[in-house]
């Protein structure tokens, strides 16, 4: 099954179960969704539940908040995370805060889905995902789906939750193949150990998990050690338990993210390790992130900005050697 098909199936199942679940966004209906995630849903559930909106992100999220206040369980689709900036007032000031400001009188059972990240030569205004900003907002739950199984289960759980969830997808993952374990009762808040190892912990999320996995063989051969790869899955709250036990085991931490380095999401992970696990560490933590420039259009320049499997392997090996591995 493809990643986008898993998302589609999750939405489809939840819509079939509960008529309060509606989906709204630009081109989600007749067009079938910009990345075909909502394909076929309008034929099944009609235009009252699969709602084509104008290109007005503030209203897509703002209306979803109002629908949730009125008792529906809306899923808002933002075409790309870059456009979510137009909705940030609604996401931060309304979606995240209404429950708290009303002392729990307002419940917002809603999900805002958005793909982001560097795809291929989409240039500066179509290549970001803002996980650092979205995860810094108390009141929001932020999930990041890097694989097919998690995408399916976590989206279903997100739709079932009585809290507002930001569901991050990645544009290059939509056609990724994978299996769904339908019998699993997945905890979407729990980080996923993608590969076990005891020499280095590499923490990542979204598409970078795949890039890390591609680099792992070279790193293990080069440094003669084994690597544990952790997919964070839930960016807020963070599963510190899984992180701690891995870092305690390996004593070495690398964080790989597509985010820009300054103020980037990975800083929170390194900060946690430095504050809480300083004496468990055998080496200074390493962050591999995008360079601090807007994403350029030219392919050569674009690849220079973001982490790639080759660059990840090279940097981790240099760091390993510097630190006595």
């Amino acid at each position: 099954m493809l990643y986008r098909e898993a998302l589609n199936m999750a939405i489809d199942e939840m819509m079939a179960k509960d008529e309060n679940v509606v989906i709204l966004g630009e081109d989600v209906g007749r067009y079938g969704g910009s990345y075909r995630v909502t394909e076929g849903l309008v034929a099944k559930y009609g235009e009252k539940r699969v709602i084509d909106t104008p290109i007005a992100e503030l209203s897509i999220v703002g209306n979803a908040v109002g629908m949730a206040m009125g008792g529906l369980r809306p899923i808002a689709e933002i075409m790309t995370a870059n456009f979510s900036l137009l909705a940030f007032d609604q996401i931060i000031n309304h979606m995240a805060k209404l429950r708290y400001m009303s002392a729990g009188k307002i419940t917002l059972a809603m999900v805002v889905r958005m793909p982001g990240g560097v795809s291929r030569q989409l240039a500066a205004q179509h290549s970001e995902s803002y996980e650092q900003m979205l995860s810094a907002v108390p009141g929001l739950i932020v999930f990041a789906a890097s694989d097919v199984n998690y995408a399916y289960h976590a989206l279903k759980k997100a739709i079932l939750m009585d809290d507002p969830v930001i569901f991050l997808e990645h544009e290059l993952l939509y056609n990724k193949e994978g299996e769904v374990n339908f019998d699993e009762d997945l905890d979407p808040f729990k980080a996923r150990v993608v590969k076990e190892g005891d020499g280095i912990t590499i923490v990542s999320y979204l598409k970078m998990v795949d890039d890390v996995m591609e680099a792992v063989g070279e790193i293990e051969d080069g440094l003669k050690t084994s690597v544990e790869v952790i997919d964070l899955c839930s960016l807020n709250p963070i599963d510190f338990k899984t992180l701690s036990s891995s870092i305690k085991k390996t004593g070495r931490l690398v964080v790989v993210e597509e985010d820009h380095k300054t103020g980037g999401y990975g800083a929170s992970i390194v900060s946690f390790a430095s504050e809480e696990l300083f004496y468990e560490l055998d080496a200074p933590p390493l962050r591999i992130a995008s360079k601090d420039v807007p994403i350029p259009y030219n392919r050569r320049l674009e690849l220079e900005v973001i982490p790639t499997p080759r660059k990840i392997a090279k940097r981790v090996m240099e760091w390993g050697v510097e630190n006595g591995l």
Partner: protein, 323 residues
């Protein structure tokens, strides 16, 4: 409009005004902090609109104490919220600008200018979807009509023929900036004209507000889509307690106060409805007493415990995971 209802509106207007004077007093005494936006001068609009639109969902701004009380919220829990006490309607975590009571279909209490309008539009969508007929009313000031949220909402409400009343309180000032300096015209309903029926009313006249909102409600309930009311009004105080409001001349304020909505309704009650002066006096006394009790309740209530800090951030099952 019958006599009994007019008298009820009068009572809530006096109650609202007394409440706001008490809030002002306790702000100056230091019992209330932060931003406090008083509704004095606009009571006809706040009370009569709520009484006319008595069943549907209401979304409004941070200048909402009087509306909340007119909607049936106890002045005690409203005042306690202003005092930041745990007995407040939002347990002291919302404050003056964030009063909510979904059991009375009152959805705040929003302090982002124009931010509540898209929420109201979404709720109107939900109500039609659920087959509930009462519709939604969204209240906002003239200042909100210059922002994108407002225009997006007019467009969507109109495109989807949603059951929603847009009620614009035009008091002519966006904090200290007179509307005609930042908008090409004084009457903001002109912006709604291409999208929906719209009309201008005298927001200082409680009976006119009541009739207009009743008419608008009928329009919405009959499935005719959105409608826009612009009520011209006047706030006597500054934008908030931190604004003296001295950008308006004494002459302008004098003209304003000549239209005082409370006195005006009082005169109508005596002249047109033959209300008894003794009854009106007892209503005034009742209002004063209710406010005294509200202040006493707020003053004697407890501060929120520090354990309140993480409460209500997430629903229970998620909250457990998060903490």
């Amino acid at each position: 409009m019958n006599k009994l209802l007019a008298e009820e509106i009068y009572y809530y207007m006096v109650l609202g005004r007394e409440f706001e004077y008490a809030a002002k007093e306790h702000y100056m005494k230091g019992n209330i902090s932060g931003f406090l936006h008083l509704d004095i001068g606009q009571e006809a609009l706040s009370v009569a609109s709520m009484k006319a639109f008595d069943k549907g969902d209401v979304f409004t701004t941070y200048r909402e104490h009087v509306m909340a009380i007119a909607r049936g919220m106890d002045p005690k829990v409203v005042m306690a919220e202003l005092f930041g006490k745990v007995t407040g309607v939002s347990r002291g975590k919302g404050g003056s600008m964030h009063l909510f009571d979904p059991s009375r279909f009152f959805y705040g209490g929003d302090a982002i200018v124009g931010g509540q309008i898209p929420n109201a539009v979404g709720c109107a969508y939900a109500r039609r979807y659920q087959g509930k007929e009462d519709g939604v009313m969204v209240v906002f000031g003239d200042g909100a009509t210059n922002g994108g949220a407002f225009f997006e909402s007019l467009n969507i409400a109109s495109a989807w023929k949603l059951p929603i009343i847009f009620l614009c309180e035009n008091n002519r000032y966006a904090i200290g900036t007179e509307i005609t300096r930042v908008s090409p015209f004084l009457e903001q309903s002109r912006k709604a004209k291409p999208y929906m029926p719209s009309f201008v009313i005298d927001g200082m006249d409680a009976l006119e507000v009541y009739e207009a909102v009743s008419k608008a409600k009928e329009h919405v309930l009959n499935g005719h889509g959105p409608i826009f009311i612009e009520a011209m009004t006047c706030r006597y105080e500054g934008h908030s307690m931190s604004d003296a409001g001295d950008y308006r001349s004494p002459q302008e304020m004098r003209i304003c106060k000549e239209k005082d909505p409370v006195k005006r309704l009082e005169k109508t009650l005596l002249d047109r409805f033959s209300s008894q002066e003794t009854l009106l006096e007892s209503l005034r006394n009742r209002a004063v007493k209710a406010v005294e009790e509200a202040v006493e309740f707020a003053a004697n209530s407890e501060e929120p415990d520090l354990s309140e800090l993480y409460r209500d951030l997430f629903c229970k099952e998620c909250g457990n995971v998060v903490s």
